[in-house]
Amino acid sequence: MKEEFKIAWRNLWRNRRRTIITSASVFFAVFFAVIMRSYQLGTYDHMINNLIESFTGYIQVQHVKYQDNPLIDNSFDYNDSLASAISEIDKVVSVTPHLESFTLASSGTQTKGAAVIAIDPVMERNFSDPESKLVKYRITDEAVTRLKHAGAIPDNVLEKVKKNLGRSFSSSARLELELGLADEDNENCMPEILKCTEVSNGFLTANDEGILVSDRLASYLKVAIGDSVILMGQGYHGVSATGIFPVRGIIKIPSPEIDNKLIMMTIPAAQKFYDAEGKITSLVVNLTGKSDRVLKTVKAKINILLPDNNTVAKTWYELNPILYQQIQGDSQSGQAMLGLLYFIIFFGIFGTVLMMVSERKREFGVLVAIGMQKKKLKRIVTIEMIFLGAIGLVCGLLASIPLILYFYFYPIVLKGDLANMMEDWGWDAIMPTAWFGPYFYWQAVIVAFMVVLATLYPLRKIGKMKEIEALKG
């Protein structure tokens, strides 16, 4: 075998330029395929984190009719022991109860339809963490005037601040990002900007009777912290649900669609409001593993724990079929692109093989003539082909690792129209890469498959070779 490896390795470098070009084509194909796929999967993960981990969760326990008919009538009794039992299942991170319904929200002359999500403020920290979404900075006319009077703010910075008039931010980092100041301006002006735009805010306590209002809804209703909002709707089994709720805090939701209509309150307050004592509409389950296998396993285990046939566990893709199909469709088009890339590269490799066989026909004939078995010759050619693919594959994978690591920890932050568009879809406007997973190792399988496919040709040629004809060249 050592001799075969030696000959194969030396053969590889007989035509150094051709080997380098072929390896380079494999290298670039692997490198771009890994990076593209990593970005694509990273974006899906991010989207799932944004929408799934903050709203639907990976698995939900619901009343069997709730998904088709999301009314409070299709709620079920909350049971602490069920939640505890689900928490014990391997890979389950948190189990959080939700009571969700709709209402009309009114303040003064303004009225608007709103979605109510009732939560346990303590348990919810492990799930959507609404506290982190509280508005901390707001650019108002007042704030701009204060900045002007502060005197130390250059005009160009002030202009950038004014461009964001009316906007709210739940973190200084987001404000910094949206202003997009030069490094020097950022260092000199940010402390003052943060000081002038900072707003006070509050959160719900465990049995709070107040509400959190999303930023855009609060603007529409013209309410601030301490104001009251009247909610009117239909409660459990058609009872009239009305109440007046003090605003404890304003939250900023990245998705404008949700930011326009969200009200959060505690579960006891909502149960009282909707006259749905002890009821919830969903138990939201979050997991550590995100694979299909984990989802199916946990779902099956939860279904065993459910006390009756009125409740059922559903995975996030059963709960969000449109989003799931969107991801699947996008993923498949991405894979088709990679397929096309590899298809082109395959012909590059195959071209090299064709030339190699054509150039070395006579040599193959000599080797068999002097006593080398064809199977040994086939092994040498196979090893040569493996080297050819492996050089590009290994280099491509190695080169992609630092980029994947960097953009995993420091994702590309999008700005401008693209960022706005992504926010409209409900995503944070960042593009992270995906952590190393099957997509990474699959490149090796694909390249191996291409090499095997390309190797079939010389192997067949050697198998059918007649020494006398091969010796003529």
């Binding site: 001799e3 000959i7 030396r10 053969n11 007989r14 006579r362 040599e363 000599v366 080797l367 068999v368 003539a369 002097i370 006593g371 080398m372 078995q373 064809k374 040994k376 020494e467 006398i468 010796l471």
Partner: protein
């Protein structure tokens, strides 16, 4: 002792509805340590005959028996092994393995035969010294002249002590001096190693040194002269 027998060997090529009788009813035998030349004009069937003897091609009819083994009875893989263990080849255009050094080329057949490394080294140095290339063992074929390459090819052909060596126009691409040197080396090795050499050639220098000259015309043996 006969090492090779050809009995009524025929080779007919059918191309474009034209039959070419390349080898016509040839019956010959060769003894151990012969130094024989097959001569004849172009197209007389020399190379075809050599290919048949070497098991590179199969006769249309007749038998080729080498040390008691009938070549036509062997399967493809058995034939390759038979060539490996019994026949050495020297080609007109050297046909060394370009990625191996002179030493590795000579060693190659012995590696295929799984000789121990020590014995391979000893035999390789012995042969390369015998062909006057003891100082070029690490040179690749591209760094050697035509004459030197052909000497490496002869060393390779003799490496595993075959029953006989088939050399197809071994001097055709060599200048006069290189050709003479090569022939002297082959004659010396024939004498020392007791290995039969069969050449196909046009070269009068080869004919002059041969101990037996077989003349072919239109695929037929027209003369078979032993010169000793």
């Amino acid at each position: 002792m006969k090492v090779l027998e050809l009995k009524n060997v025929n080779k007919i090529y059918n191309s474009d509805e034209v039959k070419v009788h390349a080898v016509n009813d040839v019956t010959l035998d060769f003894a151990e340590a012969e130094f024989a030349a097959i001569v004849g004009p172009s197209g007389s069937g020399k190379t075809t005959l050599l290919n048949l003897i070497g098991g590179l091609d199969m006769p249309t009819s007749g038998e080729i028996i080498i040390t008691g083994t009938n070549l036509s009875k062997l399967k493809s893989s058995q034939l390759i092994d038979f060539r490996l263990n019994n026949i050495g080849f020297v080609f007109q255009s050297y046909n060394l393995i370009p990625v191996l050094t002179a030493k590795e080329n000579v060693e190659f057949i012995m590696t295929l035969q799984k000789w121990p490394q020590k014995e391979r080294d000893e035999r390789t140095f012995e042969l390369l010294n015998a062909v006057g290339l003891g100082d070029r063992i690490d040179s690749r074929p591209s760094k050697l002249s035509g004459g030197q390459q052909q000497r490496v090819a002869v060393a390779r052909a003799l490496a595993s002590r075959p029953k006989f060596v088939l050399a197809d126009e071994p001097t055709a691409n060599l200048d006069s001096k290189a050709a003479t040197t090569l022939l002297e080396i082959m004659e010396k090795l024939n004498h020392e190693e007791k290995i039969t050499f069969i050449f196909s050639t046009h070269d009068p220098r080869v004919v002059k040194m041969a101990h037996r000259v077989i003349t072919l015309e239109d695929g037929k043996v027209v003369s078979d002269v032993k010169l000793e």
